[in-house]
């Protein structure tokens, strides 16, 4: 399923994940965390990995020129 639309969509998802990772790392975001204050590094790492996976998937989805 190679298309520019898919690639751009996955890139946008990656950016969203990156922002969420930063918010968890800074302690701004507390949703679904075991404590209600402070940074949540596990959550931040998870969303950073999800962001990387999205960017990788975006690159795979991008149509390649020969």
């Amino acid at each position: 399923m190679k298309s520019n639309t898919t690639a751009i969509g996955l890139g946008v998802v990656g950016i969203i994940f990156l922002v969420i990772a930063a918010l968890y790392a800074l302690g701004v975001l507390q949703i679904l965390a075991s404590t209600t204050s402070g940074p949540h590094y596990k959550h931040a790492i998870l969303f950073a990995v999800l962001a990387v996976a999205s960017f990788v998937a975006a690159n795979f989805a991008r149509p390649k020129t020969a």
Binding site: L46, R62, K64
Partner: protein, 290 residues
């Protein structure tokens, strides 16, 4: 926890983490059976377990150092190119596909589930379930061997008819990764369910074990490294805990070497029988407070 107890727990955790018999289940059941007084709800127990896991992850990194170098190189090459051309690149992407569901479930649910079920009775019960799961995986594998008319052939030849880890599908890798969440239940083995998942996906036993060990490493390592700063500031006897972690790593290394050799022709059956028997005996001992 005394130093001797810490060393024993390190040995136990390292030896049972990679065997398909549930290290968490053993860590919950055995101290209870030995009437050890330390509480697993103690704030110092989690950092202790974290260090033991780092020992295990370190052992796996040493064991697979060459493969990890190839996997990391393969990951960056495939990610930048946007296509997969070598088996190492495919394995890197498979591990990413398997790690994501495990990471999501681990970050959001692990602590909640573990705290719900951290009882020796529950752990012993799930150990029995783990045993039946392992026996079930082998039952399905034997059925697959019969379907492929392999049941009369020697074991080594049977195994050669199945695939290497790099041949697994991405969907199967993700499902195997998600199966790791079952291991949040004390008594259910992470390596057991992932090796079993690998068998169902058509891998050789040895390859299923290799994929299971490779899949476990990033999650264990990341979870451990995140906790290290808290460990150093929590006032625990770091020297004693590090000694236990080293012992855990040595035991894990020896276990992994043994298992990879064993799974050239061995099956999960003996571990299944052991889990059923150990779970039932533990339930009886706990019930009668022996």
């Amino acid at each position: 926890m005394t130093f001797a107890q810490a060393l024993f727990m390190g040995l136990l955790q390292g030896a049972t983490e990679l065997f398909p018999v549930s290290s968490l289940g053993h860590s919950v059941i055995i101290p209870s059976l030995l009437h050890w007084s330390f509480k697993q709800s103690d704030p110092t127990f989690v950092p202790f377990l974290v260090l033991l896991h780092l020992g295990t992850a370190g052992a796996l990194l040493v064991l697979y150092r060459d493969q990890w170098i190839a996997i990391i190189r393969g990951f960056f090459a495939a990610a930048l190119r946007g296509s997969i051309t070598t088996p190492a690149e495919r394995l890197a992407m498979l591990l990413l596909a398997g790690t994501i569901p495990a990471g999501v479930l681990g970050v959001f649910f692990e602590t909640r589930i573990k705290s719900l079920f951290a009882s020796p009775y529950v752990a012993a019960g799930f150990l029995v379930v783990n045993g039946f799961l392992l026996l079930g995986f082998e039952l399905l594998r034997r059925r697959a061997e019969r379907r492929a008319a392999l049941d009369s052939k020697p074991r080594a030849e049977q195994e050669q008819s199945f695939a290497e880890a790099e041949r697994i599908s991405f969907r199967a890798a993700a499902v195997i990764g998600a199966c790791q969440a079952l291991a949040f239940l004390p008594g259910i083995s992470r390596s057991g369910v992932t090796i079993g998942g690998g068998l169902l996906a058509g891998l050789r036993h040895q390859e299923a074990a290799r994929f299971s060990f490779l899949l476990a490493t990033p999650v264990i390592l990341a979870a451990g490294l995140v906790e290290v700063p808290q460990l150093l500031s929590s006032g625990v006897p770091v020297g004693e805990y590090v000694a236990a972690a080293i012992l855990s790593g040595l035991a894990a290394y020896a276990s992994a070497r043994f298992l990879l050799r064993y799974f050239r022709s061995g099956r999960l059956d003996p571990y299944g029988v052991y889990c059923v028997a150990a779970g039932l005996v533990s339930l009886a001992l706990l019930r009668f407070n022996l």
